[in-house]
């Protein structure tokens, strides 16, 4: 069960139990929902963007530990970034989650790298990427992100 233990390593379970920036904030400037068509999971993200900077990033929704931890880590990583920088990190994250390569980590992603094992569980990759696609949709002003 090494892969499995890797997948559910402490850091991830901890984020799952104590998600950061969880819950609907009092105000926001950008919003989107992310829908996982396969499992019906729904996350909602709430951003406050000022002068191109992600001042706050919150999310809500009930989902699996992978999605929860990924969202939690993502909000921590994203807060304070410019949208341009955020896009760059999103690009790196997509590469990290791409099962067709063997990349293990990107320095720029910090704790988010603990999610790398997810790519060994192809049916779960969408759990990890859902909140990221939702933030991307929110920044772009699109209301819904769906994973196919």
């Amino acid at each position: 069960m090494t892969d499995l233990n890797q997948l559910y390593k402490k850091a991830i379970l901890e984020h799952n139990r104590n998600p950061r920036n969880y819950g609907k904030p009092e105000s926001w400037t950008h919003y989107a929902e992310g829908l996982n068509a396969i499992c019906g999971d729904l996350v909602e993200v709430y951003l406050s963007i000022q002068d191109g900077v992600l001042e706050t990033v919150h999310y809500s929704g009930e989902s699996c530990a992978i999605a929860m931890a990924s969202a939690s880590m993502m909000t921590e990583l994203s807060t304070g970034l410019t949208t341009v920088d955020w896009q760059q990190k999103f690009g790196l994250f997509k590469r990290l989650m791409d099962k067709n390569n063997a990349i293990n980590s990107f320095d720029e992603l910090g704790e988010v790298n603990t999610l790398v094992t997810v790519k060994k569980f192809p049916s779960r990759i969408k759990s990890a990427t859902l909140c990221w696609y939702a933030v991307d949709a929110a920044i772009k002003g699109v209301g819904t992100a769906t994973t196919e």
Partner: protein, 400 residues
């Protein structure tokens, strides 16, 4: 032993013997079904119905014998009342578009139930959009049973059609469809029964149910993927316009006009899934030989055993506790999300489904995004259930 006839059960998953508890998604097939498919491709490989040569003739006989076997399985009055389709979904769409569509005007009502699979919701929503008709829903209760007290009010003078599921794929509930058909017929409303989850588990008798249409999904009843039948009462099938245009469904074509063939050919345009149809016939014969009563009895044993066994997992709640149900267990566990359970127990060889099982409205009712669903078939064993329980306990431990 019957189980040994299912070669797909003999695989290893992550180094563990497979414990297949995803039968409501698709069943395993007995060797006899695979043999029938291979026999067609090896010994009778030809197109059907239109050939004078020997292979075409024998392929046609095999295909039409399969129709006879299916008619026997669901006690249709004649094999001609059965149309081969890809599965339940195509069956429902066919009826919506060719039988119901012409009878609808804006404001008319279609009645379904809260327990429906998306395949018995979305075709009606599309039809409502096309015609201005309105979708009405028979409510459910906490047990996962339909609330039928107000059925007589729900079926009113605007109701043009009712379409209800026989056995719920998510909760296992067996609905009293015979009674429901009667209530609808009392008001002159025709009824389709979605039997996707019925034929693998319980005796189906379309004449006794007196339903107007009945859909069967081959891949759920131990038959091939891409196979199924739609049963319809003769008078309906005769009066319906065709669905697909193409070869086989015509008697005469000119560019000016075309004469359609008789039922069932009228609804079977193009080359069908010949191997699939023949395999489905073998699946029907398998069930007839095994005895559906024996299968139902074994289902009951497994249901009782599993209910008991799952009590060992604290924090586990079974969603759907109908009095009449097939061995389907939708459940949630406090503090562990369904997908995480699914992933973890998969590593113990246990195959279950997680999510909404194509029945989102059911889980909206319960305020859940989804569940873990263990769905059993007669070939599952008590040991399979024990491995499930063990693996669930492991999942809980990981999340402590």
């Amino acid at each position: 032993m019957l189980r040994e006839q299912f070669p797909g059960l003999n695989v290893q998953v992550h180094g563990k013997p497979l414990v297949y508890l995803d039968n409501a998604a698709t069943a395993q097939r007995p060797q006899a079904v695979l043999d029938a498919i291979n026999d067609y491709y090896l010994n009778h490989n030809a197109n059907i119905h239109r050939g004078v040569h020997a292979l075409s003739e024998s392929a046609t006989v095999l295909y039409e014998q399969a129709r006879v076997s299916m008619a026997k399985l669901i006690n249709a009055p004649t094999m001609k009342d059965l149309i081969f389709v890809r599965g339940c979904t195509e069956g429902v769409n066919l009826v919506a578009q060719t039988f119901v569509r012409n009878r609808l005007k804006a404001g008319d009502e279609i009645l379904i139930s809260h327990l429906e699979h998306h395949s018995n919701i979305v075709p009606w929503q599309i039809l409502c959009e096309q015609t201005g008709a309105v979708l009405k829903v028979i409510p459910m209760n906490q047990l996962g049973e339909l609330e039928l007290d107000d059925l007589d009010q729900l079926i009113n003078e605007k109701t043009r059609f009712m379409s209800v599921v026989h056995v719920s794929n998510s909760l296992g509930t067996i609905n009293p469809v015979k009674k429901m058909v009667q209530a609808a017929h009392d008001k002159g409303v025709p009824v389709l029964v979605d039997g996707a989850q019925a034929t693998p588990h319980i005796k189906v008798d379309v004449q006794d149910l007196d339903c107007d249409f009945y859909t069967v999904s081959g891949h759920k009843m131990y038959g091939p993927t891409g196979s199924g039948v739609l049963y319809g009462k003769t008078e309906h099938l005769n009066s319906m316009p065709p669905y697909h245009g193409g070869g086989e469904m015509i008697s005469k074509v000119t560019f000016e006009s075309t004469v359609y063939n008789a039922v069932p050919a009228k609804f079977e345009a193009g080359t069908p899934n010949i191997a699939g149809g023949i395999g489905l016939g073998a699946a029907a014969e398998f069930i007839l030989a095994a005895g559906i009563d024996k299968i139902s009895a074994r289902d009951h044993q497994l249901r009782v055993y599993t209910e008991q066994a799952l009590k060992q997992v604290s924090g586990l709640s079974i969603i759907g506790n109908a009095k009449e149900k097939s061995p389907v267990f939708s459940f949630v566990i406090d503090g562990v999300h369904a997908h995480d359970i699914g992933t973890i127990i998969d590593h113990c060889g246990v195959a279950v489904r997680t999510g909404h099982h194509c029945t989102m409205p059911i889980f909206q009712y319960y305020g859940l995004a989804g569940t873990c669903r263990a769905s059993l078939a007669f070939y599952n064993t008590e040991q399979d259930v024990d491995v499930l329980v063990e693996s669930l306990l492991k999942a809980k431990t990981m999340f402590q």
